[in-house]
């Protein structure tokens, strides 16, 4: 028996759930399968057979649900969502106690007097004190850790208010006093725990989705030893190791080709789309994609000087120089916490000295703390972020943390990378109209038999009924065959006897005819132009920053409607360009996917990267576009701007509420009933305002 967890990014409805579960349960080697729609996962209990995971994935793929394995760390995480359940239990206790105490308080507010009132207060105390102690624990802990570092945070006034309110209420109860604030202390705890729980859920969803993405790309290398081939992790590689690289694989290390001929796609590394032809003795770089033939390389320069390491260093420097961003919640807390403490201290001293009645003074100071306590403030940010990140996640954008949403709302410039971001990264045939039909048919007949990306593009473009005999693939060169006794070749320029073009091209040679070129260009994403228009309409400046040659960059910039473009930018130059923009006072959103963008993504004010990006870029980007749809950039920006507006509105609601209630509390008119009403009303208003994000068009 074995437990297998698979990520299923495309499940979304009841029909998906039953299709997946039914299909899996019908297999004799599966004992149970359960889809978790919230996490978009399926957990399977299956027989412990070799290769079972692969066969399950193939089965789900054939059903139309591409599945991906999750690594064991994610699995362990999924098992123990203890922190979430713990918060939920505290929330339950606070809610239960609040409702009971509120009921008891109603009789006091209704005018119960004497022994009846005292009895109600005693019963309230018996429920409230243990509940405040248990449910408020997260706040005491956080306040204590802030105080022991000699700092103030939002939790300090909260804890103080809870403790003071409970203490005063107990004292008043013992002495038969009129006012007890047990219900206020509990509703404060309840509303703030809701904020906490929302905050936790937002983070947990982002974290689990991010680690799922990280788990997708586990890079391994195949090392050739005297005993044969072995698969090893990257950090086990040593200088001089001979590595085997099959077509379709990425190079795991820098090195020199010792055997084989092939073409390498450097686009993830440099942004250039023109494949490089390599043979024995050629120097190759980690991160390049092997396109056509099997290669053997000797690993070299595994120390500090690999390109990968240089880029990692650039990312690190960019991250340390990135300006520290103070979130709106922190800004509010920085003003709020000292002000509240000062006010209640002033109330205490004023009333104490003025009337000489220190019991009354403590009562009023507690009332001020309770009334001002940031119930609405504690909900203002988490409620909006939970609504916004839920909305974004449903659309296919993963937010790594809430602050990046605020950063995204601030931007005035968007910088796009070209290859793989504005373009699909897939070649498309451009000169189909200039080619004679018989050449196209011939090329398609040959191309059908090859897995080379350019051949696939030709096979997609034309269909062919021609019967070609003797078809052979020549790794690194092309495909050859025989039609009516005449040799035909489809492949590299020099192999077909042509002079190489300046553009990505495949050549077709029939017998002794002059070879014909099939020209390719990186295809622009269909949604790119609309996205750029939408961003410009939102008042943003749009730029293109590419590592590719000027001609390619200009063509794409024109097609997408971008006026300002830069070509031939190295990873370091990309960072410099972004820093220059930042120095001019611009706040830049960088969107990129290649290894060459990783440092620029870390240097930008905020960054996004499609899920198809390389690992390094995904980890330095603040947001990930899970569905690889670039139009999400404009939509996410719109949601971010709306969220920021909601947060500020929520703060204003909280501020207005304070402006009305604080003078009353200072003047000594605050009653427990007033506190309870005002607190609930402002919290509900703030939550409702936040939920408007989810309904936004």
């Amino acid at each position: 028996m074995r437990r297998i967890e698979l990520s299923l990014p495309t499940v979304h409805c009841a029909a998906c759930i039953s299709a997946v579960e039914r299909k899996l349960s019908n297999r004799p080697d599966v004992f149970g399968a359960r889809v978790n729609l919230t996490m978009k996962r399926v957990s399977i209990t299956a027989a412990d057979l070799p290769e079972i995971e692969e066969s399950l994935i193939a089965e789900l793929d054939s059903l139309g649900y591409p599945a991906k394995p999750l690594d064991s760390a994610v699995l362990a995480n999924a098992e123990g969502d203890k922190a979430g359940r713990d918060l939920l239990a505290r929330l339950g206790v606070a809610g239960f106690a609040m409702m009971n105490v509120m009921l008891l308080s109603i009789s006091v507010w209704a005018g119960a007097e004497g022994t009846t009132r005292d009895m109600m207060h005693w019963i309230s105390a018996a429920i409230a004190l243990p509940a405040v102690a248990f449910a408020g624990y997260p706040f005491y802990k956080s306040a204590w850790s802030a105080l022991s570092r000699r700092r103030l945070n939002m939790e300090v006034p909260i804890s103080l208010a809870l403790l003071l309110a409970s203490g005063i209420s107990l004292y008043e109860t013992i002495h038969g006093g009129e006012h007890a604030y047990f219900d206020a202390a509990l509703s404060l705890t309840f509303f703030l725990l809701i904020g906490r729980y929302l905050d936790y859920k937002t983070r947990a969803t982002a974290r689990s989705a991010a680690s799922e993405l990280a788990a997708l790309e586990v890079q391994k290398a195949r090392r050739i030893t005297d005993d044969g081939e072995e698969t090893v992790p990257l950090d086990a590689l040593r200088e001089g190791d001979i590595l085997a690289i099959a077509p379709g694989e990425r190079l795991p290390a820098d090195g020199v080709v010792t055997w084989g001929d092939s073409e390498l796609d450097p686009s993830m590394l440099t942004g250039e789309t023109l494949p490089q032809t390599v043979g024995e003795g050629a120097v190759v770089r980690a991160g390049m994609l092997n396109i056509s033939g099997p290669l053997k390389i000797r690993a070299e320069g595994l120390g500090e000087e690999t390109l990968l390491k240089q880029i990692t260093r650039l990312v690190e420097t960019a991250e340390t120089t990135r300006n520290k961003y103070t979130s709106l919640a922190e800004k509010a807390a920085n003003i709020y916490a000292p002000a509240v403490h000062l006010l209640s201290l002033l109330a205490f001293l004023g009333w104490g000295i003025g009337t000489g009645d220190w019991r009354l003074a403590v009562n009023i100071a507690a009332a001020v703390l309770i009334i001002t306590c940031p119930c609405a403030l504690g909900l203002a940010v988490p409620a909006v972020l939970a609504a916004a990140s839920g909305r974004l996640f449903a659309q296919g954008v993963l937010l790594k943390d809430g602050v990046s949403l605020e950063r995204l709302a601030d931007i005035d410039t968007v910088v796009f990378d070209k290859t793989g971001t504005l373009t699909t990264g897939m070649p498309a045939l451009v000169n189909a109209d200039d080619l004679p039909p018989e050449a196209c048919e011939m090329a398609a007949a040959l191309a059908q038999h090859s897995a080379h990306p350019l051949s696939k593009a030709i096979a997609r473009a034309f269909s062919s009924e021609l019967q070609i005999e003797d078809i052979k693939e020549h790794p690194g060169f092309g495909t050859s065959g025989r039609l009516n006794g005449v040799e035909v070749r489809l492949g590299r320029a020099d192999w077909c006897g042509a002079t190489p073009a300046a553009q990505t091209a495949v050549w077709l040679k029939m017998g002794n005819d002059t070879p014909r070129a099939f020209l390719f260009e990186d295809e622009i994403r269909p949604e790119a132009a609309d996205t750029v228009t939408a961003l410009k309409a939102a008042g943003l400046e749009v730029q293109l920053l590419s590592g590719d040659v000027p001609a390619a960059a200009e063509a794409i910039a024109k097609a997408a409607g971008i006026e300002q473009w830069t070509a031939h930018a190295s990873p370091a130059e990309k960072v410099d360009a972004l820093n220059a923009l930042a120095d001019q006072g611009h706040k830049v959103l960088m969107v990129g996917d290649g290894l060459n963008d990783a440092a620029a993504l870390a240097a930008a004010h905020v960054s996004m990267s499609p899920a198809s990006a390389v690992d390094a870029s995904r980890s330095s980007a603040d947001m990930i576009i899970i569905n690889n749809d670039i139009s999400e950039v404009a939509k996410a920006h719109k949601i971010a701007v709306a969220s920021k507006r909601r947060i500020i509105e929520n703060f204003s609601i909280a501020a207005i509420y304070n402006m009305i209630s604080v003078p009353l509390a200072l003047a000594g008119f605050a009653t427990p009933l007033m506190a309870a009403l005002a607190m609930s009303a402002s919290s509900i208003m703030v939550s409702l305002n936040a939920m408007r994000i989810g309904r936004m068009k």
């Binding site: 409805c13 009841a14 029909a15 759930i17 039953s18 039914r22 149970g32 359960r34 889809v35 978790n36 729609l37 919230t38 996490m39 957990s43 209990t45 969502d81 359940r85 939920l88 239990a89 339950g92 206790v93 239960f96 409702m99 009971n100 009921l103 008891l104 009846t116 009895m119 019963i123 429920i127």
Partner: protein, 53 residues
């Protein structure tokens, strides 16, 4: 007023039962997949493993 001596304990006990039911449901992972539970109600197939073991 003597009725209070009966009613208040009853209300607390009833509330307490609710609280324990809530604890039980949290412990049984009933809050782990809210979206899935909302969709499963639409399926006509009997859900024979609601705890997802």
């Amino acid at each position: 007023m003597n009725i209070l001596a009966v009613l208040i304990p009853i209300s607390l006990i009833l509330g307490g039962i609710g609280l324990f039911a809530f604890f039980w449901s949290v412990k049984n992972k009933q809050f782990d997949d809210p979206k899935g539970n909302a969709e499963r109600i639409l399926s006509d197939r009997f859900d024979d493993d609601p705890e997802g073991r």
